[in-house]
Homo-oligomer: 210 residues x 2
Amino acid sequence: MGKSSLMTAEPVTRQDQVLQAAARCFVEEGFHGASMSRIAKAAGMSPGHIYHYFESKEAIISDIVRREEIDARAFFDQFRECSPSELISNLMSCVEEGVQSNTDTFHSVLMLEILAEAARSSKVMTIVQEVDKELRDNFANTLKERLDLEDAHGRVEVMFALFTGLAIRIIRNPGLDRTRITHHMRQVLSNLLTQSNEDEREHLSVASNA
Amino acid sequence: MGKSSLMTAEPVTRQDQVLQAAARCFVEEGFHGASMSRIAKAAGMSPGHIYHYFESKEAIISDIVRREEIDARAFFDQFRECSPSELISNLMSCVEEGVQSNTDTFHSVLMLEILAEAARSSKVMTIVQEVDKELRDNFANTLKERLDLEDAHGRVEVMFALFTGLAIRIIRNPGLDRTRITHHMRQVLSNLLTQSNEDEREHLSVASNA
């Protein structure tokens, strides 16, 4: 749910410099509009030099996805050793920041470009799906262990849908009210974290008898 | 939340034929990869002939968005004259179909292409945002009138985020469990439609005093 350090921090290495420049180019010109030489120029290096770091735009986009994984992983790891009540209250206190970072237009357009490219490149798709599996398994395990929740995976899916969906909402409605959304998101998240296991058993048994 | 009739029905007019062919091309090759002559070929007409119906790819994408509005409008209109209890139960019974249609990969990739193009074309962006405003105002008014809900707009934002977010989830996790998600989505939707106005007043007064 957090903000990518890649996009906010000063670039430390030449690789970071290329990744940041490439992200800007993808957002401004689209993945297909942004050529390697355009990215090199934006990163302040010669067109030949960029191939020393990345062999293709696909390799750049894969690295951007891997960086996002590192940030997201650090975010979820903070909850691993929490008590049940700490876990819920810490998650609640992250909702505001989650709404902010997921309604950042730059982040949102970059995500759209990456996913649209994933739909056409099996290499990019493989990385996107591997990273997602890693993150949702990790978070679902924390919820299961700490809160004793059944179907933690299903709950995590819905939480991920909710926050990711905001990235689309900010494009369709740039005037959305973040304060009001944060309020409703807290209520929904609290509901998802406390829905009883009994409700679920009942529902699933109805579904399987249907 | 419903499925686009454009994509499922037999094309009736030559325009429909072009829109369906264009949608397939955008999904397979991306908006930039799909040329007007490629789209014409896919629609079974000559490259010159297609300009008789649409002057550009932008015009095609705008029409796709307008068609989706008509379908979505029809979906939301069915709730306008419901009693409060009918409204809630009818919405609940649409969740399963909403999960199915929003986790359709074709629909999902087409949406990504349209939004990525909107981010670069002010004409497309204007239409995307106008259509969204129309739909969310319409649905928020129904919720406000029928259920006497405060901040219906904020609740609608979160509902839209939730369903739209599924379109991204199906790309990142093609194995997602629709039955389990439907269960949690129903709980969350029910929570959003019944959160008391008092909770909200309390929260917003805390926020404004902070």
